[in-house]
């Protein structure tokens, strides 16, 4: 997808005025937050688990080359293949090659954020393949021709009414004409349409929540079981995974799975947690004939070596999105690329460039709630500040903000001059307010006063009054 992160401000304003979107966001927000809280309160050792999870990730990242090579060797030993891709283009090319060699027509795809990152659907469709998303949320946004707005709930921005309308428009052709009213009816109808796709697909693509070095397994968690069907029914299974998904052992994966489910949906464990290890063996009742893993870098090696390394601990649970007041106000599409919210505000500039992604690290009050709820304790505010530091150093900060900062700093560095300026401002504004105690509008503060009054200064500065008091 073409990034529109640079237009965050415009995107956000539109989102704030979109009544339907606001309705969908308000409904989603509370659910995620409450369920997570309940799940964590029910698990006294959550803090210890979090520390253990973080340690596993830090250890793995410090030895990433070792574990990736071990993973590759194990995949090969089990009869599968690993394809290394440095860029999105290389990753797409690898997938297209596999599909062509398989003589595929139809590709069934489970949910994969890295798939969005490399725009695999566009690549497949451009090459003449049909792609069907099998996760209900992904399916909804696919038929709506929209990108996901949340990393675990891609269609969270849509209301039931909108989904019903989408289905009515599209499903008429296969003869489905029952009016949809309830969520189970929506799910049933999607299941009916998708069932045929699962059976007809030649290639199944899934993402991976974790890769396990000791066994060469790819792990996915879903609540719909669609990932399992995408992976086991078609002849060929392709796993798309970024390099930081690897963990050393099954034991390590189980620690992270406990953190992931609770942080994401407030579940103890998701409905389906599946470990795929190689293609089907002679006595297996089902499974694909070929098993491929496409390992994607796309800037992650560079992150490993730099100040954003801690971001690679991210397990894509979405807790930071669900708890971010900015995400809650504007939704995921405003962020203008694949990853929204605080985690996206760190990742997007690293992947599409700081020139394009500049607004995102600034679209945060640095309230710190994202870090507080992150199961991997990623210091997201610190990483957002690091982007701002780079922005300032590279002169990407808008001139007006730079000048305002420079003017303020000029006075703040000179206490005597600062006192005089403060005295003047406080006195003048105090008088201007003329005893009303606040301003309904002020020319230089129109952004503030559009939605709230500006309390007026009391009049004389503290420092002036203090000096007088201590003289007498």
């Amino acid at each position: 997808m073409k990034p529109t992160a640079h237009a965050f401000e415009r995107n956000a304003r539109q989102a704030l005025h979109d009544a339907t979107l606001q309705q969908a966001l308000a409904r989603a927000r509370g659910g995620f937050v409450d369920k997570r809280r309940a799940a964590i309160e029910a698990l006294p050792e959550f803090a210890a688990l979090r520390a253990a999870g973080r340690a596993i990730k830090d250890h793995t990242l410090a030895n990433l080359d070792h574990y990736l090579l071990r993973f590759e060797a194990q995949v090969q030993a089990k009869g599968g293949q690993v394809h290394w891709a440095e860029t999105p283009e290389e990753a797409c090319a690898a997938v297209l090659d596999i599909c062509r060699q398989a003589g595929a027509k139809l590709v069934a795809k489970g949910k994969s954020m890295v798939g969005e990152e490399i725009a695999i659907n566009d690549a497949l469709e451009a090459a003449g393949f049909e792609v069907v998303e099998t996760d209900l949320g992904e399916y909804i946004i696919q038929i709506a021709h929209e990108p996901p707005s949340h990393i675990i709930a891609p269609a969270v921005h849509k209301t039931r009414q909108q989904i019903t309308e989408l289905f009515e428009g599209l499903h008429h052709q296969p003869g489905l004409t029952r009016p949809l009213q309830t969520v189970p009816q929506i799910v049933d109808e999607a299941r009916q349409v998708l069932r045929d796709k699962f059976l007809a697909a030649d290639v199944g693509i899934t993402g991976a929540n974790f890769l396990i070095a000791e066994t060469g397994s790819a792990v996915i968690v879903t609540n719909e079981g669609n990932g399992d069907l995408s992976a086991t029914l078609p002849r060929v299974h392709i796993v798309l995974a970024s390099i930081e998904k690897v963990v050393p052992t099954l034991e390590d994966a189980s620690v992270l799975l406990r953190l992931l489910a609770r942080s994401a949906t407030g579940q103890e464990i998701t409905s389906y947690t599946t470990f795929f290890t190689g293609p089907r063996r002679a006595d297996d009742p089902d499974g694909p004939e070929e098993f491929h893993v496409v390992l994607i870098d796309n800037g992650r090696s560079a992150m490993l070596a730099g100040p954003y390394r801690e971001m690679l601990r991210c397990i894509r649970c979405g807790a930071c999105l669900n708890h971010c007041p900015v995400y809650g106000a504007v939704g995921g599409h405003a962020y203008g690329w694949v990853y929204p919210g605080p985690m996206g505000a760190v990742l997007t500039p690293l992947m599409v460039g700081l020139e394009e992604g500049r607004p995102l690290p600034n679209a945060s009050t640095l309230c710190g709630r994202c870090e507080a709820v992150c199961p991997m304790a990623i210091p997201l505010p610190k990483l957002l500040r690091e982007h701002r530091r780079q922005e300032f150093a590279r002169h990407l900060t808008p001139p007006r903000a730079r000048w305002a900062l420079a003017a303020w700093a000029f006075f703040a560095r000179r206490p005597q001059l600062y006192r005089r300026a403060a005295r003047l401002a406080a006195g003048l504004l105090g008088k201007l307010a003329r005893g009303r105690g606040r301003f309904r509008s002020l020319p230089f503060a129109s952004a503030w006063t559009a939605a709230r009054d500006l309390p007026a200064p009391q009049g004389e500065t503290f420092m002036d009054q203090w000096r007088r008091r201590n003289k007498s």
Binding site: P455, E460, M463
Partner: protein, 248 residues
């Protein structure tokens, strides 16, 4: 006991009565309060805007001005958080300044935390329902949550109420409210609605930034909820007009 008071630039400029309330509370502990005249601003706007050189330029004289005191008290979770948490980060690569920053961080307390730590006995009274808003810095950078509540419990006649979704930011965020005014406006609208829904007649907080924001929204809504800094209420100094109120 000598205590250096860092009044913060917002208190100095907008609401000096908060500074005097802090002085009164500290003197109530028997402290001698000193206000080092070199102070202006802690440098947080520069720090959060990525201008680290300016942030350091502002931090150095303040670190020096506050160096001679065993106790440094700040009537703001946000500015205290800057001194306690971010000054050491700011000087990570300058060993000499890093050591000074760590010493300062160890001696610095947010006002209500300092009062609670030193067993303040208050003589204030306030008849009414009071909601406490915790700034995100107080809550998450300093973990100051119990202290203001314990102090409010000492105030005669006061009934305390909690605000729903208290953990959600009010949308001030320093320069955020200027950079993204529309989003900030939405956040403060939600917060002001939650304050009103709490049934409080008075809102207090340890941070003037949040208070200017929330009071501004409450006043725009013509709400009757009165807004004070926590220190003003604890010091029994609510005879001055509330934030955003006309003089009486």
């Amino acid at each position: 006991m000598r205590v250096a008071l860092f009044v913060t630039c917002l208190v100095d400029l907008m609401r000096p009565s908060v500074g005097f309330a802090a002085v009164k509370l500290l003197e109530g502990l028997g402290a001698e309060v000193v206000v080092p005249p070199e102070q202006t601003c802690c440098g947080q706007p520069a720090y959060n805007s990525g201008d680290l050189a300016t942030a350091r330029d502002l931090a150095r004289p303040l670190v020096d001005a506050l160096a001679g005191f065993e106790h440094v008290v700040v009537p703001s979770g946000s500015c205290a958080g800057m001194l306690v948490k971010h000054y050491p980060e700011l000087f990570e690569h300058e060993p000499e300044w890093h050591a000074k920053a760590i010493t300062l961080a160890r001696r610095t307390r947010e006002l209500s935390a300092f009062l609670a730590e030193h067993g303040a006995r208050l003589a204030a009274s306030h008849a009414g329902r009071v909601a406490m808003h915790d700034s995100c810095s107080a809550r998450r950078e300093l973990n100051v949550l119990a202290e203001p509540r314990a102090l409010l419990a000492q105030v005669d006649g006061l009934e305390r109420v909690e605000i729903k979704e208290a953990e959600t930011c009010c949308g001030f965020g320093g320069t955020f409210c200027v950079k993204y005014p529309d989003i900030s406006a939405r956040m403060v609208a939600d917060k002001a609605a939650a304050v009103i829904a709490s049934g409080a007649d008075t809102l207090v907080s340890g941070d003037l930034g949040c208070l200017l924001n929330i009071a501004g929204r409450l006043k725009r809504m013509e709400s009757s909820v009165r807004v004070y800094h926590l220190a003003e209420l604890l010091a029994g100094m609510t005879e001055v007009p509330g934030i955003g109120e006309a003089g009486r």
